[in-house]
Amino acid sequence: MKPFAYQAPTTASDAVRQVADDPDAVFLGGGTNLVDHLKLGVARPGALVDVTSLTSAEITERDGGLLIGAGVRNSDLAADPRVRERYPLVAQALLSGASGQLRNMATTGGNPLQRTRCVYFQDVTTPCNKREPGSGCSAIGGYTRYHAILGASEHCVATHPSDLAVALTALDATVHLLGPDGERTVAFGQLHRLPGDRPDKDTVLDHGDLITAIGLPDLPMARRSTYRKVRDRASYAFALVSVAAAVDLDGDAIRDTRIAFGGVAHKPWCATRAEDALRGQTAGVDAFRAAAEAELADAAPLEGIDGGNAFKIPLLTRTLVAVLRELTGVNR
């Protein structure tokens, strides 16, 4: 681990300025991802700017929805009665991620910014375009089980590991930012990007942009929502695939729906094709399957030393069908 300076400014705007002015500085939040990466040599900053106490740790009512301070710890967000009642998918996503200890540390602002768990990204002895642009992608033709089937590029096939981010994508949450030029907001679905030829950039944030809060919209259908994570062990594992979904039913007709996928792309995958295919349809297994197929029409599984990840297509299809069945009360 390379030495670094530690700075603890007293205001968020000071913190933003300190990072914006120093290309080698990064924000330190809950630390669960950054400290890991410092040890691995994946992150090599010259300075850490501690923001853990500089953003709100409160959840407040705002425009019929909720405004969650970036400093709210994952465990507190999952336990909030308003979140559990009005946005159950958020609580479920949080509780399906990491462990109790990590949820006590990780923050609302930091969680969506955690970086991929690609084993080659985390191993500085193997080429990786995300870590070292131009060095190559070792995951292509390698260990692909946790890698992308949607939206990948020849430069990077990594997936985004956050569960919370999948739920927030489905809800169309709002990201509140403080940057060197002041405050602004970004739609959560626009926060993360596909790898293209710049896999080193996970998000649209500029250096020095600090997430100060996440806004959950007034969305009544979110009360009928769920987060389903499929993984290789019963707990404490990253998603092979996950589905966040909310449904607005009119009798047995689907008036509206929100769907996002995790574990399958460089960003939480907003399943707009599936949503479009379902709106106005009668709830039923055939319609659910057709929606999954519409979304996965362009899926491109990888070949690898582990037999590849084509299994994610049927797995995600079946998981989406099961989730929609559960939310709409349709039998197998």
């Binding site: 030495p3 630390g31 400290v35 890991d36 462990s99 109790g100 990590l102 019963a234």
Partner: protein, 155 residues
């Protein structure tokens, strides 16, 4: 780069000079001589380093000491205040460990679980909440029984 900080460890103020890179875990183990929390993976993947910071269970291997200046840290050593903590007694009663290496972390995690829960926990719920603490010896049945016993005593 060095920094002067103070950690309140198991009830006693401990001024200590740390490298900015030093984690709370290494500050405890390598600088303060408190080897109760263990290093199993050093990356937040096993739970052996679990301690209570300001009353909440956290992973000390992912917490930089310099950022924890002034924090109240409780290790499994500190939970035993003269007598063993009820959770510690329950672990012995149910043989909730073998090699003992993950045990201080399991104990701190269990104390945190009991603190976090506001109602009765099912067996499956205890197991899920304790899943951030790996035990390679496979003492899970004893660990769950111990947490259930301690929860019963707490009620």
């Amino acid at each position: 780069m060095d920094a002067e900080i103070t950690l309140r460890v198991d009830g006693a103020d401990q001024p200590v000079t740390v490298d900015t890179r030093t984690t709370v875990l290494d500050a405890l183990r390598e600088r303060l001589g408190n080897t109760s929390p263990k290093k199993g993976c050093d990356h937040g993947q096993c739970g052996a380093c679990t301690v209570l910071v300001d009353g909440r269970r956290v992973l000390s291997c992912l917490m930089l000491a310099v950022a924890a200046d002034g924090a109240e840290v409780t290790t499994a050593a500190g939970l035993a205040n003269g007598d063993l903590h009820p959770v510690q007694r329950a672990f012995i009663d149910h043989d909730g460990f073998q090699c003992g290496y993950c045990t201080p972390g399991q104990i701190c995690s269990a104390v945190g679980v009991l603190e976090e829960s506001d109602g009765e926990l099912s067996r499956a719920e205890v197991a899920e909440r304790m899943s951030g603490n790996l035990c390679r010896c496979g003492a899970y049945p004893g660990i769950v029984a111990a947490v259930e016993q301690a929860a019963g005593e707490q009620r």
